[in-house]
């Protein structure tokens, strides 16, 4: 019994570390995370930083040690520089959302319906996602942050977006695992009355992703980041209790 608990504790350790804010790694983590952020890149300069809780990334090959973070900054090529978060106004949360959010955040695990190229993917933590296409300009080890979600939920509560949930309410990160391929497809094409069969072959490649974490921010975090509380109204996400 003892050994098992020790083991569990050992495995839990990384998560505890991850919860601790590591300010030194913040820059790198944010940069890498937002490097390949998929959409909603506005040209305006940020008025407020995209606050994302940093994560300990232990073995990413391109990861620099914390001490060398400043020196590594100029090495990032211009094409890989992060897309600056562009929000003109702070996130607005309604009172009812603030009231119900602790129920959602307190109930693990969470799922997310993330949209990528307008296709929904229902994801939980640790899932494999094989995109139906080959994502360009990514290599294994890269971290993507999905910022389009229509649903966020746990067993009994769901945060519904109208149509999408504000991306500052949650964090969903995925790791690029590699590129997968499919068996060669052979399409046989025939014409009538012609004894000739044309065989068209194709072999597609797909990007493999893995969901690293799905985190819904708590009410305190939101307020700390400068969320503005507004009256209940339209256009703001609502938490629904499972009927």
């Amino acid at each position: 019994m003892f050994s098992r608990t020790a083991l569990a504790r050992a495995f839990a350790l990384p998560f505890e570390q991850s919860a601790r804010p590591l300010t030194t790694r913040f820059g790198v983590c944010l940069r890498q995370a937002s490097t390949t952020t998929t959409s909603q890149s506005h040209p305006e300069q940020p008025t407020e930083p995209l606050s994302a809780t940093p994560r300990a990334q232990t073995s990413a090959p391109s990861q620099q040690p914390p001490t060398s973070t400043p020196s590594s900054t100029p090495q990032i090529p211009a094409s890989k520089l992060p897309v600056a978060p562009a929000f003109t106004s702070p996130v607005e949360v309604t009172k009812s959302l603030l009231e119900n959010l602790p129920y959602l955040t307190g109930q693990k695990p969470h799922y997310i319906t993330a949209h990528l190229h307008d296709k929904p993917y229902l994801l939980t933590e640790g899932d494999h996602l094989r995109l139906p296409f080959l994502m360009p300009n990514v290599k294994p080890g890269d971290v993507l942050r999905f910022n389009r979600a229509s649903l966020l939920g746990s067993r009994e509560f769901t945060l519904k977006g109208t149509p999408y949930v504000d991306e500052r309410l949650y964090e969903c990160r995925l790791r690029v695992m590699g590129v997968d391929s499919e068996p060669l497809r052979v399409k046989e094409k025939t014409k009538r009355r012609r004894r000739h069969v044309q065989r068209v072959t194709s072999k597609h490649r797909y990007t493999l992703l893995r969901v690293m974490d799905i985190k819904i921010k708590t009410a305190e975090e939101l307020l700390q980041e400068g969320a503005v509380v507004v009256e209940d109204g339209k256009g703001v996400s609502e938490v629904e209790v499972k009927a």
């Binding site: 640790g126 996602l129 790791r175 695992m177 499919e182």
Partner: protein
């Protein structure tokens, strides 16, 4: 006390916390004599060093394989291996093939329809007729 099986504490989920490249080893085989290895030999002479430097996490082994076509073999952390025959290929094409093996997941090529595969339990639970609104006929 009844006999209990040891429950799995965790399943290995590479990439959730730490990330290890799926490809752990690449074997480059060539033949000194055969002409189909010409591109491979040129690749090994000229661009192997840069390839190895760019991928320090992959072990690279070079060994001759006389009287056979040149082959790149990738060994993956799931225990499988993938081999690509690179006979009569140019060095640039061989670099492409090596990159392909490097990025591959090591799984057998399968055609899947569902994009998401999960080992987690359903978050919202299994549907039950006794929950929710009572249906009126």
């Amino acid at each position: 006390m009844p006999v209990q099986g040891i429950r799995t504490v965790t399943a290995a989920r590479n990439g959730v916390g730490a990330f290890i490249l799926q490809c752990k080893r690449l074997d480059f085989h060539y033949c000194d004599w055969a002409g189909s290895s010409r591109g491979m030999v040129s690749f090994l002479k000229n661009s192997l060093a840069s390839f190895a430097k760019a991928n320090p996490q992959i072990e690279i082994r070079v060994s001759p394989r006389p009287h056979k076509h040149p082959v790149i073999k990738g060994h993956y952390i799931n225990g499988r291996e993938k081999a690509v025959c690179v006979r009569n290929l140019e060095p640039e094409q061989i670099v492409q093939k090596a990159n392909l093996l490097k990025e591959a997941s090591g799984e057998k090529n399968k055609r899947t329809k569902k994009p998401v595969t999960s080992i987690n339990d359903s978050v919202r639970g299994i549907w039950s007729p006794f929950h929710g609104d009572t249906k009126t006929v």
